[in-house]
Symmetry: C2
Subunit: 212 residues, 2 copies
């Protein structure tokens, strides 16, 4: 055994140890031995509900659209900042290929605007000017690419982990009429609103794919 | 030399190699041998200008205030989404201690709202409602904590890496009259606008510190 250890290249042992470090720390997205960023993949309960993803605030932020209640007749579908993140390992693959790999997770954390809103448009005034400022978190929506599991909703599953806090620990996939129909109708690339996220939209499509 | 290598504990070699991995891959924030997240620290040119930080889009996003031109007499100081990130290793220390460690970097990437704005408040209408949607990137501002180097501006340095693209490769610290005075006057904690970033504001202050 000792002689085997001596023959084992130090670098291989180091890579193995790094993989352990990465697995033990959810904040780590270390390169594996193939130079790939490691991935966090969706987890499901035995009954098929999705578990709340881990550590999304350390994922890659891609943008934060805002549709305030005050600009939507008092009743926006999503009145909060939509802080949208993509799982980093999947993003790395997308950047290389132009295709969201199976298992890609988008996490949309909802964050209320800071109150009170002093102005009729829902804005308030702070030292940097009149506008919209982040306030309390308020739940999350999640989408997952899985062409087999979510074939009925176009290859993506849509989950509501509450539109309030605390977020749900698990969530069931929503029916097509609730989320998927709108993504299928109007999202630019593969049910994803890449038209609002330059970090996604600027990635070249795979050869031969004209969409986007 | 060979006998030394044999005596070197594999784990120590692995930790050293992990540190190399982390240094070589800007997307890696692997735990070091003390269980700490590794840090990216500010880099300066020989003349003392700050170099554009690396890989901020893989840092921890903390919030995106928005003060549109249309709500500020056509001339907001920062008309874009302010996508604010904190360097992850410094954030991990702050979460534990309630104090921003020396070398903490905040990166405020500016992102224009998507045009054309159809409405007088600067908003436009999309399938999810009337509001503000991310458009092209538009430069960045950066702050760095360094009590010695930036003592004249309250212990933080303020840098403008252009308010347009492409971002500058290097930037000189701005005088107190330009940025620091406002942070010193109105930011809640240690010149940082924690009042707009719940992820920062919810962290307990160190014992005996009443501010915040």
């Amino acid at each position: 055994m000792k002689s085997m250890m001596n023959k084992m290249p130090i670098v291989a042992a180091a890579v193995a140890a790094c993989a352990l470090f990465a697995a033990g720390s959810p904040r780590s997205y270390a390169a594996d031995d193939a130079g790939q960023t490691s991935r966090y993949l969706p987890e499901y309960t035995s009954s098929g509900d999705m578990k709340l993803p881990k550590d999304w605030r350390h994922w890659v932020f891609i943008g934060s659209p805002l549709t305030p209640n005050a600009l939507n007749g008092g009743k926006a579908n999503f009145p909060e900042f939509h802080n949208v993140y993509i799982e980093p390992g999947s993003f790395a693959i997308y950047q290389k290929t132009g295709v969201f790999p199976e298992g890609t997770i988008f996490f949309k954390e909802l964050q209320l605007t800071k109150q009170p809103a002093e102005n009729p448009d829902g804005s308030r005034t702070e030292p940097s000017g009149r506008g919209f400022f982040p306030g309390p978190f308020n739940g999350a929506d999640v989408t997952v690419k899985d062409s087999k599991r979510f074939g009925e909703t176009g290859g993506w599953g849509y989950f509501n982990f509450h539109h309030y806090e605390p977020k749900a620990e698990t969530a069931a996939a929503r029916p097509k009429s609730e989320c998927a129909f709108c993504h299928i109708a109007s999202a630019k690339r593969d049910e994803v609103w890449t038209q609002f996220y330059p970090m996604l939209d600027e990635v070249a499509l795979p050869p031969g794919n004209k969409k986007g």
